[in-house]
């Protein structure tokens, strides 16, 4: 049973040494037969286009079915045909597009919360003194 490199915090040195071998072994690993059977045919552009069309058809079909069955009720906005679909699509797009300004405003380097360098030096000096 192998684990990923650097995954064992108690043995970082060993993990680093094993890292190269692990990557070599990993590159040589063939695709799993189940993956070939289930997923390989999904990688084509044709499938993607068909998938988009399929999702569109199902979504519009749900709207048409709602209209045919006259299922609208409740608040005025909810009586709008396809309200749930329109709301879902717009909400999803809003959530995703908000990621651009939010990412710019809130993202910091990964070391942002790391202790300052002088703290580490102090800790190291203290550790050395203890030893």
């Amino acid at each position: 049973m192998t684990t990923g490199p650097g995954n064992d915090p108690r043995d970082p040195q060993g993990a680093a040494e094993d890292g190269e071998n692990w990557r070599e072994e990993e590159r040589a690993r063939p695709e799993h037969p189940l993956s070939v059977m289930l997923f390989s045919w999904m990688r084509t552009e044709t499938f993607l286009r068909l998938f988009i069309v399929g999702v569109g058809v199902v979504s519009l079909g749900a709207v048409v079915a709602e209209w045919v069955l006259s299922l609208q009720s409740g608040e005025p906005s909810k009586r709008l045909i396809g309200f749930y679909g329109i709301f879902g699509g717009l909400a999803f797009a809003l959530a995703v597009l908000a990621g651009w300004p939010l990412g710019a405003a809130l993202r910091r380097p990964e070391t942002h919360y790391d202790p300052p360098q002088h703290d580490k030096a102090d800790a190291a000096a203290k550790g050395g003194a203890d030893e």
């Binding site: 990923g4 999702v55 069955l69 749930y84 679909g85 959530a95 910091r108 990964e110």
Partner: protein, 594 residues
């Protein structure tokens, strides 16, 4: 033998079994023997839950400081939470069999045992004490990863939960003084045959208790501990952490504050804001933590609605959420184990060599997104319906609808897409160990089983008749299913369009600032600012003091007994000079003061 088990089951809180097993697991070194404990203890606890004392019976009582404590009491509300905890403990046991970490295994079982004991407590003090044991055990789980980041996160987590514990215990003390009892049975009347909403949040004790639970449930502003701590645990630790603390808080909210309307708004806000953070977060386990926060928001909103539908929704959604959230954390744990990372920017294409994990992750994603025929649909429908028909909260309902689309984005699509599909990262890790696959497979079976045949879950509902009526009339009605298909279908369509138009934000490494910025950035910066101001002020004061000293010395040298006035002038001239200098000094002081 069966009589002995009957006696054990009817008088012993099943949490004790897990607690004892936790101590054993921490001490046992042989992995195989520990495996027996990890799986055997939840099985025994499950039997005790199923064959325990009758509902509403105080099976174990004691008194402490003059207060009557009910150590073991089951009713239809605690039963559904307890059952979910036991099932999750079993899944975690199977999932962690490949590891050789006795301390973490022991801490996880103690965490589960304390959680179970808390759910089956019949009074506030027992509940709080057990809940504080979950804090200690969960901190131990975090510390057992033994990385600097995990240690720091554990300290922050512990500090937040100590504040919460303090508020809870103060609340219990005030309630005990005000009402003279802390037993659920005596605190509040039954509502439709169930002890829910037994505390009044407008009373001081109730308010303190609600504030304490707010931290545990990760209410807005005090939520950052969740996304800070959970992703720092090990691959098994984060699964365990995802199950108990927040759901215990939800259980307590139902028990104590069901029907408290402001919770609808708190819950709605909880569902919405994590969506935005999850979109920009790169660490997929942190995305799951935000998603957990969002899902707990749905439960909190249902608690606010109260009534049969709201209570059923909160309890059943907690049950399904425990399973599918565990499943998602398990799948990311498997990715962490095999690749050493869960950062979306470093992953992609793992389905080629981890197809089983990919499938299980997709099942978890479909469940949390509430696709029809998956477990999330079955339970979230109750909540959405309860809020939809609650008066005066239409905006909150719209917010929760928005959050439903957001859930699809961050947990339904982002988690499986960026880890297993998306661009090929070139990583070809080995498939997860068999025990992990087994646990994920079992959790997936629950997700699909509940989704396809929800009747058995609905029979567990606190208000069984109301749940079965909803199942028969509303759950799979054409209107309900079509609305959900519309919502999800158009949202997926939006994803595909945004992706093709390159409008989907790319995954970038980095830390996302959240409310913890207040205590991790602003707090230390303010402290440093105050320190440097004090230093500057001290230096300035020293300079002023030196100048005053020099001036005094000069004055003494000029006007003292050996000064030039005394040496050269007559006594009358000296008196005149003294009057002049004194007058000038007074004039200067007067001018300065004025």
């Amino acid at each position: 033998m069966s009589e002995l088990f009957g006696m054990l089951a009817s008088g012993t809180n099943p949490g004790f079994v897990l607690l004892v097993a936790g101590v054993m697991a921490a001490l046992i070194r042989p992995t195989a023997l520990r495996g027996v404990v990890l799986i055997g203890a939840p099985v025994l606890a499950l039997l005790m839950v199923l064959y325990g004392p009758g509902w509403g019976v105080d099976a174990a009582r004691t008194d402490l400081l003059g207060l009557q404590l009910s150590l073991y009491r089951i009713d239809s509300l605690s039963f559904v939470f307890g059952l979910a905890f036991v099932v999750a403990t079993g899944l975690i046991g199977i999932y962690s069999l490949h590891r050789r970490e006795p301390l973490e295994d022991g801490a996880a079982l103690i965490y589960a045992g304390a959680g179970l004991a808390a759910v089956f407590s019949g009074d506030l003090l027992s509940f709080v004490l057990w809940m504080e044991l979950t804090t200690l055990a969960s901190t131990a789980i975090l510390l057992s990863r033994r990385t600097a980041a995990a240690n720091r996160a554990a300290l922050r987590y512990f500090a937040m939960h100590m504040i919460s514990g303090l508020l809870l215990i103060c609340g219990v003390a005030v309630i005990a003084m005000d009402r003279g009892t802390i037993e659920f049975v005596q605190l509040g009347p039954m509502r439709d045959g169930l002890l829910v909403g037994i505390l009044d949040p407008s009373e001081p004790g109730g308010a303190l208790f609600l504030a304490g639970l707010g931290i545990k449930a990760a209410f807005p502003i005090v939520h950052a501990w969740l996304k800070d701590a959970y992703p720092e645990a090990s691959e098994t630790g984060s699964v365990a952490l995802s199950v108990f603390t927040t759901k215990l808080a939800v259980y307590a909210l139902v028990r104590c504050f069901a029907g408290f309307e402001p919770l609808i708004w708190v819950g709605a806000i909880m569902t919405v804001f994590p969506v935005f953070f999850a979109v920009v977060e790169n660490d997929l386990r942190r995305v799951l933590a935000y998603s957990l926060n969002n899902q707990v928001g749905f439960m909190v909103a249902a608690v606010g609605v109260g009534g049969e539908l709201g209570v059923n929704g909160a309890a059943l959604h907690a049950f399904t959420h425990i399973i599918y959230k565990s499943l998602l954390f398990m799948s990311m744990g498997a990715v962490l184990l095999r690749t050493g990372t869960t950062k979306a920017s470093e992953l992609g294409g793992l389905h080629r060599t981890m197809p089983f994990t990919s499938i299980f992750c997709l099942i978890g994603a479909a469940s949390i997104s509430a696709f029809p025929l998956f477990s999330g649909f079955v339970s979230k429908s109750l909540i959405m319906t309860s809020v939809e028909y609650a008066p005066g909260v239409y905006i909150a309902w719209l917010g929760m609808m928005f959050a439903s689309a957001g859930v699809l984005e961050h947990s339904g699509i982002k988690i499986p897409y960026f880890s297993f599909f998306s661009h090929d990262s070139g990583k070809r890790p080995e498939e997860a160990p068999f025990n992990m696959l087994l646990a994920m497979g079992a959790a997936s079976a629950f997700c699909i089983g509940i989704g396809v045949a929800p009747v058995w879950l609905y029979e567990l509902a606190p208000y069984r008749e109301a749940a079965l009526e909803y199942l028969g009339v509303d759950l799979f009605s054409a209107k309900h299913v079509l609305h959900q298909v519309q919502l999800l279908g158009f949202a997926i369509f939006a994803f595909l369009l945004l992706k093709r138009m390159h409008l989907y934000p790319p995954e970038r490494p980095g830390v996302i600032l959240d409310a913890d910025w207040l205590c991790r950035d602003l707090g230390p910066a303010s402290w440093r600012g105050i320190g440097s101001f004090w230093e500057r002020a001290s230096a300035r004061r020293a300079r002023v003091s030196e100048a005053v000293d020099r001036w005094r010395d000069w004055l003494v040298s000029q006007c003292g007994p050996s000064g030039w006035i005394a040496r050269r002038a007559s006594v009358s001239a000296g008196a005149i000079w003294t009057v002049i200098i004194l007058g000038a000094t007074l004039a200067v002081i007067y001018g300065a003061v004025r």
